[in-house]
Structures are given as structure tokens and as C-alpha cells.
């Protein structure tokens, strides 16, 4: 099940606002809008944008030193880190220098318990000056900013969803599924008096997180390409490979059990599928091309060695033979 978790997007927006450092949220609005569009397949509602802007305003007041008390690492941080990194990358903001330490903290913050506690700290600052009708109003407004999430069945009855993903306490934005507990409604959801409650520590289920990352990456494409993308992104964040493998393999999501000889890039996989070329066609093309000496070894446009197999079955297969795509089919077509 896909549910959209605004906290990650919220934080991405916040990070963009914060890291750009030029004080202009306007210039980033359209980019945030673009990334939300990519993730949700629709434009964010005005409420969502208002919410993101508010997050940016809050965040602009936070000094780097305020983050120091946040736990910088958590086992669940790895996929979350990948997600945040991807969101930032998708935003296409050139002048954002991704700070890995900051992202690691962000990842930890996305963990339910730590994130919630950190937000409580931030919001406590606001509450001390004004117990904020405005903030309450914004929470209510934010309530259905993402109300098309699949976590909501559209009927208004989210009981199963709520059971799995408890709501956030009043005054805390970024609740799972875009839901926000109204202030003072201690009987509803998890809303409690912030001075007394035990804050929830239901950590992110990593398979859920992977699913979300995967969907963000691919728009629902093939899992093997998704995992490849996740690994690629994680490697860019300089998280230890061991940690990455431990996290991703444990989830056993979309592992490619196909013959390694049939490994493809996303482009290759899509082209084969769109052109109705099966693995058996590809194998036949490679075999017959090899037997008939119809394999051209050449360098691609950017110097990467490639083999071009012209099979007697009319199928042409292009495979890179070195580099990060070594052994992968980059495209295939039928003459």
C-alpha cells in the first residue's frame, strides 16, 4: 500500500528553504511544486504549499546548533536518508549544497520518535511566545493538504490506517498520511497534552520506506531498477556500503532473480517491454549474432565500450561491457 507521508516532503521543503539561504521562498516554490507533482502526480494544493512555506519560516529561525541534540544516526536512517537525498535531487535546486551531516540528522529526524521530539522542541519555542491560534488554524488547514493519499480510503474512515500509523500529537505537523490531530482533542488519535505525554516511537518500517522511495524513484516502475537506484543514491550519501547492504538486503524488496546476463538499465528494460522483446528473443539475438560473427565491438558516444549484437531473429541488443553498466543491456530493438 502506498501512503504519502508528508513529513519527508515537508522536511525536504524545509531543507530547501533553509539551505538556499537567500531568504526567498518564492523562488523555490515552483521547484517544490515540481517535486511534489512528480511524487504525487498532481499539483500540491494551496494548503500544502502554505504548509511548506510555514515550515520554511519556522526552520529559518533554527540555528545549526539547535540540531546538535538530535540523534545523528539510526538504523532506519539509511532509506530515509536516500529519500531525502532523492527529494533534494529531484528539486533541481542548483545552489543547494547537500550537506551529508545535515542530511543524516534529517534522516534521524524523520524517524518517528526522534523527529517528534525534535519538533516538540522547535514548536515549544513558538508556544512560549504565543499559544497560537494561528498555529492551530494552520494545523487544521494542513489536515487535508494531502488528503488524496492512498492511506485515506476516501470514506473518511481511516481506522486501519490509523492503527498502523498513529497520528501525531496536536501541534506537530508532518503526521503520517497527512493527518493532524486537532488541538485539545485528547480523546482522538494520539493527541495528548504535550507536557505530559510519552512521545510515540513507532519507528519507520523500512519496507514501507523502501516502497515510498521506490515509487518516488520510478513512478511505479520495476523493482530491480528501483533497488539499483536506491543503492546509487545511498552510495552518493557516503553511507557505509555495509550499512546499505544490511538495510536493503534485509528488506528483500524486488530482488532481481533474473539471469545476470539479462541485466538492464531502466532504459533497456523499458525499451524491451515497450517493443515486446522478451528475454528469450534477446538471448536468441545474442547467440545467433555470436555464432554468425555479427557482434560489433565499439565505443559509445562517451567512450564506454559496447557490444552490439545483430541477431538473425531481427533483434539488436546493445550491451555495455565496462563501467557501472558493465554487462547491462542499455537498449534493444527489432528491425
Amino acid at each position: 500500500m502506498l501512503y504519502m507521508e508528508p513529513s519527508g516532503l515537508w522536511l525536504a521543503g524545509v531543507m530547501l528553504a533553509k539551505r538556499a539561504g537567500d531568504g526567498s521562498l518564492e523562488i523555490h516554490e515552483r521547484r517544490i511544486s515540481a517535486l511534489l507533482y512528480a511524487a504525487y502526480g498532481k499539483q500540491p494544493s494551496p494548503r500544502a504549499m502554505q504548509y511548506i512555506k510555514r515550515a520554511g519560516e519556522l526552520m529559518a529561525e533554527v540555528k545549526d546548533s539547535d540540531w546538535d541534540n538530535c540523534t545523528p544516526h539510526h538504523s532506519n536512517a539509511v532509506p530515509v536518508l536516500a529519500k531525502v537525498h532523492m527529494l533534494l535531487a529531484l528539486s533541481g535546486v542548483n545552489n543547494v549544497k547537500v550537506d551529508h551531516v545535515c542530511l543524516a540528522k534529517a534522516a534521524a529526524l524523520l524517524d518517528r520518535g526522534v523527529y517528534t521530539r525534535a519538533l516538540r522542541k522547535l514548536l515549544a519555542k513558538d508556544d512560549s511566545s504565543d499559544d497560537s491560534d494561528e498555529a492551530d488554524h494552520e494545523d487544521e488547514e494542513g489536515e487535508d493538504a494531502f488528503d488524496d493519499s492512498e492511506g485515506d480510503d476516501g470514506s473518511g474512515n481511516n481506522s486501519d490506517f490509523d492503527a498502523k500509523h498513529p497520528r501525531w500529537p496536536a501541534g506537530i505537523p508532518g503526521g503520517i498520511g497527512g493527518e493532524f490531530a486537532p488541538k485539545g482533542s485528547a480523546e482522538s488519535g494520539n493527541a495528548q497534552d504535550s507536557s505530559q505525554q510519552n512521545w510515540p516511537d513507532d519507528r519507520v518500517d523500512s519496507s514501507d520506506m523502501l516502497e515510498q522511495i521506490a515509487l518516488l524513484l520510478s513512478g511505479g516502475g520495476e523493482a530491480r531498477a528501483i533497488i539499483s537506484g536506491i543503492r546509487s543514491i545511498i552510495s552518493q550519501t557516503e553511507v557505509s556500503e555495509e550499512a546499505v547492504n544490511g538495510q536493503v538486503d534485509a528488506d528483500n524488496v524486488g530482488q532481481n532473480t533474473a539471469d545476470p546476463a539479462m541485466a538492464t538499465t531502466d532504459h533497456g528494460a523499458i525499451r524491451a517491454s515497450a517493443r515486446s522483446i522478451a528475454d528469450t528473443d534477446i538471448q536468441e539475438a545474442m547467440d545467433t549474432a555470436s555464432q554468425s560473427g555479427n557482434v560489433i565491438t565499439q565505443k559509445g558516444k562517451y567512450g564506454t565500450p559496447q557490444n552490439v549484437y545483430n541477431g538473425t531473429n531481427g533483434v539488436t541488443v546493445v550491451i555495455e561491457t565496462s563501467g557501472r553498466n558493465a554487462g547491462k543491456i542499455i537498449t534493444v530493438w527489432r528491425k
Binding site: 515540481a34 533541481g92 520510478s218 537506484g229 552518493q236 532504459h267 562517451y302 542499455i330
Partner: protein, 88 residues
């Protein structure tokens, strides 16, 4: 308005990966064009610059062709030309 079809033509003209030159069909980059189009559509109504579009093309390319940062850098001038053509 920049459509997926327009972008596909631009990508075809640029043939960033050189696959068309190898004999691949004309729709070789249609999926990439569609993804780029989604982003551009989301930005409609705003004044776009090359700096807005290049990262989008780059991101789409990284995803479809599994490219490293170095790989992307080597294609950057092609991405810039694509962005310029999209801007018309």
C-alpha cells in the same frame, strides 16, 4: 507550450546516447521525454531558465541510464543544448 512530443523531437535531434545513430527506432527516448515533460508541465506559468531545466534532464537521464556524476558531467553540454531547445 512544450509537449512531450516536442521534447521527444528535441531528444531525437540531440541523440544524447548515440543510440539512434546505431539504428534504434525514432521513439528511443520517448519515456525520457515524457518524464521531462511532467516536470516542465509542473513548472508552467513560471519563467524558466536553462538552470531550471538542465537538472531535470540530468535527473531523468541518471535514472534511465544509470549514470554516475561523472557520466552526467560528460553529457552536460548535451543537456544544456536540450534545455536551450526546450526554451525555444
Amino acid at each position: 507550450m512544450t509537449t512531450s512530443s516536442n521534447i521527444q523531437n528535441i531528444l531525437k535531434e540531440e541523440d544524447i546516447e548515440g543510440l539512434l545513430a546505431l539504428g534504434a527506432p525514432g521513439d528511443e527516448y520517448s519515456y525520457e521525454a515524457n518524464d521531462i515533460s511532467i516536470f516542465i508541465t509542473a513548472l508552467n506559468g513560471h519563467s524558466l531558465t536553462e538552470a531550471d531545466i538542465v537538472p531535470i534532464v540530468s535527473r531523468v537521464w541518471a535514472k534511465y541510464f544509470n549514470l554516475s556524476k561523472e557520466d552526467l558531467n560528460s553529457r552536460n553540454s548535451a543537456f544544456q543544448r536540450v534545455a536551450q531547445k526546450i526554451l525555444g
